[in-house]
């Protein structure tokens, strides 16, 4: 990446900082036994990611990340954990044995190395054609026309309108489904 | 008649109307089902059968006009209609008929009312569903005969399958589920390969012309393929059709399906659905891939299978204890004649094959109707449970004798004309096959007459057979047209023959010419 002209040291520092927070919180998240603790660590990951989004010029996404993920989804998770009263010790001892964990680590590492390998080498070259990189750099340097929302909103309501509308149907279905599933049946069983 | 038909512009709407009408009829039955939901069950099935019968009579009557509006001397498709359907893929609602399709369409529309009459009193459960399925089946069957677009053809081909599956599976005999699933999977297996071949042809056609198309005519005239591909595509089509025919050794679904199906199902299966296979060979497999079909190895293989089917079907029929199964195996034998006639590829043999097609539809359909009538009275299909019943049911015995004779191919009945033409024509190109097949005249007489003797002749030894009632007026009425057809086509087959002559002759000359040249060429002279 030769885009160092707009990368101040502070920028880089913040970037790595958020990255490290995300990483550390994620590791903490998977290792916590208590669901509540895990959830809190996950919230932390999401906040860090929101910061990264901000730094990647996706301000709208950063907002959404905080609002939707941390604000809505994770709250739901916490509600459910509380609702089911999952603080019980028998539920806490939920990790698998030693060998499965080691194996899982290997699998994760293998996956990681494979993804990295795919990102490296000629794969990334193919992914990022040179002129596109230059164009992107220029675009990034120029002030964004139409504010922050415009570039996201335009394709969303033009090109992807149908998909967007379909997601609304999906949400409706999910709402109905959640209500039906969550309802305590009085008639049957 | 012709003037009247042209004054109402008959040819322009008849084919879509024939396809649409059963759908309307099905909707009508649905409405009736809703309206009569509160009625007692007894009243409902009595009403709905009348409605269905009236509907099929109307369908038959309007289709009859084709007989006069069809011009046997004209070369192209007749009564053709061509509408866009799925423009993105170049699929069109393209229909039209030639002489071969004409005879089969009329066979279909005329057999359907008789099939309904045949199940007049036996279908009492879920009558609306039953008759609706028969109507949808009619759409599929007619659709297959009229389609000039490969995708449309395939859709119709599959539409046909589902109602028959349900008819067997719901209203069938004891082992109906086994038979229905066997029938479905067997036929499906073949037709899926055909779908692949159709898609391949479509893409080849798109490449050749630049626009996506599945048009039969276009593919016939413009698609050139290398010999290996042709062989594979022919194989895919041929398998689908061979299962449907059914050719030996793909025939084992047939006895089960026939035996378990209700009477109307058996009649439709035998009269019409088996003809789809042979029709497919004549319309698609041969003209589209002449070089593959006339490849000496392929051709001898198919002829060998046809001949084996003829003799084998007859021999196996000989020892069946179940009369319905006997008739089913006799179908294998008869359809072998059709295949022999088609692949012997002389004008006489192809004409004969088309004739056998129709004859088998009439005679075997009638045999199944008669078995159904007997079954309704005694609730057994086993030959050994009968004997000597000619005494108590003389009308039935007379009709059964006449129909059996037609099936045997006794001169003066329709059966003779077809078999004779097939054999005489086949001998010119396939002498050995023709001579071996001719032995079937002996076996056919043996199995049918033996069965006939054990059913209607001999001593009336079983007391439970003494109370069998003879045919009633409805049954006599439904058999009379069949008997008339048997005699008419046996004595004066010319009207039928002349309808199919042009198509048969073109097929022969076209396939001969194209297979004699390099495999890739397809002359424009066809159609």
């Amino acid at each position: 990446m030769q885009a160092n002209q707009f990368h101040s040291l502070a920028y880089s520092f913040s970037f790595y900082l958020f990255g490290l927070i995300a990483l550390a919180s994620a590791i903490a998240f998977v290792t916590r036994k208590s669901p509540v603790a895990a959830a809190m660590w996950l919230v932390n990951v999401m906040f860090a990611l929101a910061g990264l989004y901000l730094m990647l010029d996706a301000q709208f996404m950063a907002t959404m990340q905080v609002l939707v993920y941390t604000g809505a989804i994770m709250v739901v998770f916490l509600f459910v954990i509380m609702l089911l009263n999952l603080g019980h010790p028998s539920d806490l001892a939920d990790a698998r044995g030693k060998w499965p964990t080691i194996l899982a680590l290997f699998v994760g590492l293998a996956l990681l190395s494979e993804v990295m390998a795919l990102n490296r080498g000629n794969t990334i070259e193919r992914l990022v054609p040179p002129d596109l990189a230059a164009k992107a750099a220029a675009a990034a340097a120029a002030p964004i026309a139409g504010g922050i929302i415009g570039p996201v909103a335009a394709p969303l309501f033009k090109e992807y309108l149908l998909a967007f509308e379909l997601t609304s149907v999906l949400l409706l279905t999910a709402i109905v489904g959640a209500v039906v599933l969550g309802r305590r049946r009085t008639d049957a069983r | 008649m012709t003037a009247f038909l042209s004054s109402i512009n008959y040819n322009a709407w008849i084919l879509p109307a024939l396809l649409l009408l059963p759908i309307v009829g099905a909707l009508g039955l649905w409405v009736h089902a809703l309206l009569s939901a509160k009625d007692p069950a007894d009243k409902r099935w009595r009403e709905v059968r009348v409605l269905a019968f009236a509907f099929f009579v109307v369908e038959a009557l309007i289709s009859l006009g084709l007989w006069w509006s069809f011009d046997p001397a004209a070369a192209g498709w007749q009564a053709a209609v061509d509408l866009p359907w799925i423009p993105q893929w170049g699929v069109r609602f393209s229909v039209g008929i030639d002489g071969i399709a004409l005879t089969l369409i009329l066979l279909t529309t005329l057999m359907m009312p008789l099939a309904v009459l045949g199940s007049w009193t036996s279908i009492r459960t879920k009558p609306h569903a039953y008759y609706t399925l028969l109507m949808l089946l009619t759409v599929g069957m007619l659709g297959v005969f009229v389609s000039l677009d490969l995708v449309l053809f395939y859709v119709m081909w599959e539409i046909m399958l589902v109602p028959m599956y349900l008819v067997i599976g719901v209203w069938g005999g004891e082992r109906r589920l086994y038979a229905a699933i066997k029938f479905f999977i067997y036929t499906m297996l073949g037709s899926l390969l055909m779908l692949v071949a159709i898609l391949y042809l479509g893409s080849a056609a798109s490449q050749a012309g630049g626009v996506p198309t599945f048009s039969y005519d276009y593919i016939l005239n413009n698609v050139r393929l290398d010999p290996t591909t042709t062989l594979w595509l022919f194989g895919a089509f041929a398998l689908a059709f061979a299962v449907k025919v059914p050719m030996f050794p793909f025939h084992t679904w047939l006895p089960d399906a026939h035996v378990e199906a209700p009477t109307a199902g058996s009649v439709i299966l035998a009269s019409i659905m088996l003809k789809m296979g042979t029709f497919g060979f004549v319309r698609f497999a041969l003209p589209l891939f002449p070089s593959a079909a006339m490849n000496p190895t392929v051709r001898s293989l198919i002829i060998a299978l046809a001949v084996i089917g003829i003799v084998y079907g007859a021999l196996v029929a000989l020892v069946q204890p179940d009369f319905k199964k006997l008739v089913a195996y006799s179908s294998v034998s008869h359809l072998g004649f059709v295949m022999l006639g088609i692949f012997a590829l002389t004008t006489e043999s192809v004409q004969g094959a088309l004739m056998v097609n129709i004859n088998h539809g009439v005679s075997t359909g009638a045999l199944f109707l008669l078995v159904g009538m007997l079954y309704e009275r005694r609730h057994t299909r086993m030959i050994e449970d009968y004997g000597g019943i000619a005494k108590v049911v003389p009308i039935f015995a007379t009709v059964l004798t006449i129909v059996s004779l037609s099936s045997i191919g006794v001169p003066g009945t329709n059966g003779f004309i077809g078999e004779f033409l097939v054999l005489v024509g086949s001998y010119k190109t396939q002498p050995v096959a023709a001579v071996i097949s001719a032995t079937a005249v002996i076996f056919a007489a043996a199995y049918l007459l033996w069965a006939l003797q054990r059913i209607i002749y001999n001593k009336l030894s079983k007391p439970e057979n003494e109370g069998i009632k003879d045919l009633n007026w409805r049954e006599i009425g439904l058999l009379v047209p069949i008997l008339a057809a048997i005699v008419w086509m046996g004595v004066y087959p010319k009207p039928v023959l002349e309808k199919t002559e042009m198509a048969a002759r073109r097929l022969v000359t076209y396939v001969e010419a194209t297979s004699a040249n390099t495999p890739q060429t397809a002359s424009n002279s066809a159609r």
Binding site: L111, V115, L118 | E348, K391, G412, L449, E466
Partner: protein, 735 residues
């Protein structure tokens, strides 16, 4: 010779009554339709609207019709009621229509014949009714061909047929299936006329199979007896084996000659290489058809069984007309046969062999109809010898005279059986009314029948001046004449020179003449002479049949006596016009005959001929003498007291065990192989079991294996999924 060259309207017959020739088959067809309708109306009880309902009732109805068909005069049925049942309600109109249409047809035939006498019949008269099968190169018309040969056959069929119809009015009077019987009989005449008048081989084949069908229906007329139904079926199937040959012959014609028209085939056949493979195969396959229809070895087995039908049927179909169709066919296809001497020798040899075998069997039969049946087979063999050696006129001549005397014999035996049956009926005796051991001394009870049957016997034995003498002698003379100087003598059969074959055939012919005289005399002696073995109670009831039955017998008796006059040999030129039939048939078969005899009429020295005739007469008289001398009717005992025969008699009585042999060699193996190997083994076992259900089983097995992977543990699924992802990604990475 080529009929196609003469347009229909230009033929001299077109202006005569012969243009109504299409009425000939139409009249019996009309009779069939009317009688058939009456039969249905009489027998039918239309069922209730809902056939499945109300099952199990109606036993009373069933019994009302119980004896509807089982009742006959053949003596096998059990009859409990003393009084004859009331006649069929349509009996009157049926008795009018059944023989009536035949009478009309006969009248028309006679008119046609007279018209034909008046014109030159160089070309056959072909009447095209409509296009039948216009397909490709095959231009088949429904057209009738009237020439002297078919005229002769038409006269025989309608004439003898009419007499037998009249006889049937009496014979079948009490049968509940009376209209059905006449319907079948009319239908038979229709098909027989189609056979003889058909102008193309396929149309001839229509008649050919049609008469077979009627034969099937009439043999099984009393179908409630399994034996009768069996016999009918056997006749049809054996005939179909022959028909297979006929079909193949037609394939050969169409493939090699391009036509199936009788006249064109004859013309084109002459262009094929003489004695070549094609023409020989054609002739041999045609002859296979003939062996089926005319009951020649090896397909002779059905005819004796066919005696299960009513006796007039045996007379009409199984003696006078249908079984002679093979002879007619050979004569009709003389253009083909004369081109293939090997086939001709085969025809003659098979004919001779059949004649001999049947005659020997006839020596030991006890059933009066069986004797006549084997006699028929034997005489048919004679006819084939005639047409086989190219003496078509001789063959046809014997066909005509045989029709007279054999119809007479059968009707006579029918009259005997009728009387026997009536007698047994009165006394409730269930003995066999057809067994000669139960007869004896009937001449005093039925003198008319007795005298007439002796006339026929003398005719068939070949006693001079009776009809059989002329025809039989002509056949033997023709064989002898062709031993030298003919195409037959020059060719060979299975390595044996043709002249030797012909000499053997001639020898067999003489032997058969001797045997014929013996067994016919035996039949007459046992039936009419000696003491009566019927039984005390029955004897008073034995009477001559009514006039409606004896009338036709008398007419046939006259014909059997003087029928030979239609073709008197030169030798006896003094007693009538020489070679009448010969001249009449000359346009049809003359050319073919001459081809066999190398262009010159056969010639035998006068001296030799006299010698041959003398020998034949001597043999006939010897035969009768031997029979009278050796057989002792008085020593016979009734059937139920007769001991089982042994040795050669047993073999002959059981017809050389041919039926049993065929059953063991063909029928049983076919059925058991079809059942055990083809159906149970191959169809249900291999195709359906192994392939169809086997593949279904395989799919199910895989499905079961797959289902074992489903532990229900989501964690396991996640593991499997991820390992899959890693593998896939690895494949991408390591590529």
């Amino acid at each position: 010779m080529n009929p196609a060259l003469i347009p229909e309207g230009a033929h001299p017959l077109a202006a005569t009554v012969a243009r109504f020739v299409w009425l000939l088959p139409l009249l019996p067809l009309l009779g069939f339709l009317i009688n058939g309708t009456l039969a249905m109306l009489g027998a039918a009880k239309v069922g209730p609207a809902d056939p499945s309902a109300d099952h199990g009732h109606g036993h009373g109805d069933a019994h009302a019709q119980d004896d509807a068909h089982g009742h006959g005069v053949n003596g096998h049925g059990a009859h409990d009621d003393h009084h004859p049942p009331p006649r069929h309600k349509f009996a009157g109109i049926v008795s009018l229509i059944g023989p009536g249409v035949l009478l009309a047809a006969f009248g028309l035939a006679v008119a046609c014949f007279l018209a034909m006498r008046g014109v030159e019949m160089e070309h056959p008269y072909v009447v095209t009714l409509f296009q039948w099968m216009p397909v490709g190169d095959l231009h088949l018309d429904a057209s009738l061909l009237l020439d002297p040969l078919s005229m002769t056959m038409v006269l025989v069929v309608t004439g003898v047929g009419m007499l037998i119809h009249v006889f049937s009015v009496g014979y079948m009077q009490d049968d509940p299936g009376y209209p059905r019987y006449f319907a079948y009989l009319n239908l038979f005449v229709f098909f027989m006329l189609t056979l003889v008048l058909g102008a193309s081989y396929p149309l001839l084949f229509v008649g050919w199979e049609g008469v077979g069908l009627c034969s099937y229906l009439l043999i099984g007329f009393w179908f409630s007896e399994k034996a009768n139904a069996d016999a009918g079926k056997k006749a049809f199937i054996v005939n179909r084996i022959g028909d297979f040959g006929f079909l193949v012959a037609m394939f050969l014609m169409f493939a090699n000659l391009g036509t199936l028209d009788i006249g064109r085939v004859a013309a084109k056949a002459a262009e094929l290489p003489f004695g070549g493979v094609v023409i020989t195969a054609m002739a041999l396959f045609l002859f296979l058809g003939c062996t089926g229809k005319s009951a020649q070895i090896p397909l002779h087995v059905w005819l004796p069984d066919a005696m299960a039908g009513p006796t007039p049927v045996s007379a009409l179909i199984h003696a006078a007309t249908m079984v002679t169709a093979g002879v007619y066919l050979v004569a009709r296809a003389s253009g083909i046969f004369s081109m293939a001497p090997v086939a001709q020798l085969t025809v003659a040899s098979v004919g001779a062999l059949t004649a001999l075998v049947a005659a020997t069997i006839g020596l030991k039969q006890w059933d009066i109809k069986k004797v006549l049946a084997y006699s028929t087979v034997s005489q048919l063999g004679y006819m084939f010898v005639g047409v086989g050696v190219g003496a078509y006129t001789a063959g046809i001549f014997h066909l005509v005279t045989h029709a007279f005397f054999k119809a007479l014999l059968f009707l006579g035996s029918g009259s005997v059986i009728f009387a026997m049956h009536a007698a047994y009926h009165h006394t409730h005796n269930h003995d066999d009314a057809q067994d000669m051991r139960n007869m004896g001394g009937l001449k005093q009870y039925m003198p008319i029948t007795f005298y007439l049957m002796w006339i026929a016997t003398l005719a068939i034995a070949g006693i001079p001046l009776f009809s059989g003498f002329f025809s039989k002698d002509e056949i033997l003379a023709s064989v002898f004449a062709r031993v030298s100087h003919s195409t037959l003598a020059e060719s060979s059969l299975l390595g044996i020179p043709g002249s030797t074959v012909l000499l053997i055939v001639y020898g067999i012919g003489l032997a058969v003449a001797l045997l014929t005289a013996i067994y016919m005399t035996r039949m007459m002696l046992y039936t009419f002479h000696g003491p009566n073995r019927t039984g005390e109670g029955e004897r008073p009831h034995l009477t001559e049949a009514p006039w409606v039955m004896t009338g036709p017998l008398v007419v046939l008796g006259v014909l059997a006596a003087i029928g030979g006059w239609i073709n008197v040999p030169e030798l006896l030129g003094a007693i009538g016009p020489v070679g009448g039939l010969e001249h009449f048939l000359e346009p049809v078969v003359g050319q073919a005959s001459l081809r066999t005899t190398l262009g010159a009429p056969p010639h035998v020295a006068h001296q030799t001929e006299l010698l041959l005739v003398g020998a034949a007469i001597a043999i006939a008289i010897t035969g009768i003498a031997i029979a009278v001398w050796r057989l002792k009717p008085a020593a016979l005992v009734p059937k139920k007291e007769a001991p089982a025969s042994t040795g050669i008699s047993r073999v002959l009585e059981n017809k050389y065990f041919v039926d049993e042999g065929y059953d063991a060699a063909f029928v049983q193996p076919t059925v058991s192989v079809s059942r055990a190997v083809l159906w149970k083994g191959f169809d249900a076992g291999i195709i359906d079991g192994l392939f169809v259900n086997g593949s279904a089983l395989l799919a199910r097995a895989f499905g079961w294996l797959g289902s074992q992977l489903q532990t229900g543990q989501v964690g396991t699924y996640a593991w499997v999924l991820l390992i899959g992802v890693i593998t896939l990604l690895g494949a991408f990475t390591l590529r």
